[in-house]
Amino acid sequence: MGIIQCSKGHFYDSETNASCPYCKGGESGVGVTKPLPVKEVGKTQALVQSEAVVSIAGSPEDKGKTVALMKRAMGIDPVVGWLVCTHGADKGRDYRIRGQRNFIGRSETMDICIRGDETISRENHTIISYNPKNNGFKIAPGDSKGITYLNDEEVLMPMSLSAYDVIEIGTSKLTFIPLCGERFKWE
């Protein structure tokens, strides 16, 4: 049997093929820099849209093709507030808070990932939750070793959050800015 593996990791029969048949015609100028057409696929657009989902590719000839769905901000996963890093390695950055529980940590798998601060636990340092029923926010300690402070007080139990509260985790300080509250609520 002449089954061999090409440099890209494809298996093919070298007795019936002079070179890898899967590489042939496969290359499409990878690595060649091409200008990207500028198109408005903006977040503003996504925010304004209503319940319906947005297909990026929806023309009839695309029928059956793999189509992407942009989750519209409303209904599925809307932003309900922000954290802004006001002190620490990521000073100046903002983080989106979405519905239900938001897990905060250094790992990319976290809902809110604060990469720069090595003193923050990788996973579940702190949890911020938004309750759509009462339109309120709470902060709770995660299950990691790291302590969370809210306005200089240690967070041991879930506590309510108000605008401009300061959350301290690791060596970072985050200011809480709600979008949802008395003046606004997603319908």
């Binding site: 990791g9 793999t66 942009m70």
Partner: protein, 282 residues
């Protein structure tokens, strides 16, 4: 302190990500089984499309020493046809996963490594292509008898074990979201079924933020005789599971030929590109 402990216990039940696999447990799982040998096969076809936007690759499987040390990774990416750059992105995604595999461990557990790589890849593709293109991605990683997978989008991982076929990954399609709504009584099952967007992807590589990545928590222990099929939806979306199961009966290279011939013989007018990678546990 009593309250805090109780609260922590509740939180650990509610926690979203499980604790990383401890060495001890990982070893226990491995020792239960004899070490397996693997053989491989692959198939790819353009279908009724003008371009091939699927990409795939295996890590080096010829060097037994290397496999013992590093394991095996197999990757399939299905570039998104409706968007520009589908092929480029799927090729890049496969290369990225294979390269990351060669560089070896960063995170503490295999799960964390796979997830980390996928999130990194997504960030890279998103910033480079700015939602002008995307790709699905499915990768399986095998170390000794343990199988791990990571998947974003609607590609599939099947296990054929003792005449039964199992799909191991969860597909990120709008239909699954709709089914959840059916479960909550928000819509009827008919509404879910008739939704025009039901096949649309809810997650893909190149998205602004990945909200869900499918990745197994504990290693899945493979057994002698198991066959794995890692494929794009050009296979899983066009064949019945019973057909896939039947086609996966013989020798692994025959299986690949059979799947290809079966799809070609169906002559579906919109047949998508299709790609399948097979791994047989000897």
């Amino acid at each position: 302190m009593g309250i805090k402990k109780a609260y922590e216990a509740v939180i650990s039940i509610l926690r979203k990500t499980p604790a990383p696999l401890t060495e001890e447990r990982e070893q226990n799982v491995q020792e239960r089984e004899e070490k397996l040998k693997f053989s491989f096969g692959n198939l790819q076809h353009i279908g009724k499309r003008e371009t091939q936007q699927d990409a795939f690759g295996f890590s080096n499987t010829t060097d037994k020493e290397y496999i013992m040390q590093h394991g095996i990774i197999a990757v399939v990416a299905d570039g998104m046809g409706g968007l520009a750059y589908g092929k480029e992105i799927s090729e890049e995604a496969v290369r990225y996963m294979l390269a990351g595999f060669r560089e070896g461990g960063r995170g503490s557990s295999i799960r964390e490594q796979l997830l980390g790589q996928v999130y990194e890849l997504n960030g890279y593709i998103h910033s480079k292509y700015q939602m002008q293109g995307g790709s699905t991605l499915i990768a399986v990683y095998i170390k000794e008898n343990n199988l791990y997978w990571v998947s974003v989008g609607d590609s599939a991982l099947y296990l054929k074990r003792e005449n039964r076929l199992y799909q191991l990954n969860k597909e990120h399609i709008h239909y699954n979201t709709l089914c959840q709504k059916v479960f909550l009584g928000e819509i009827s099952s008919n509404e879910a079924w008739e939704n025009e967007d039901k096949h649309a992807l809810t997650e893909y590589i190149g998205k602004d933020t990945l909200t869900e990545v499918d990745c197994n928590i504990w290693p899945f222990v493979l057994k002698q005789g198991d066959k794995l099929l890692v494929c794009s939806d050009g296979i899983s979306g066009y064949l019945l599971e019973s057909e896939i199961a039947k086609a996966m009966e013989g020798d692994i290279r025959m299986c690949c030929q059979e799947i290809e011939q079966l799809i070609v013989s169906k002559q579906h007018p919109y047949q998508d590109n299709f790609t399948g990678l097979m791994i047989y546990c000897e």
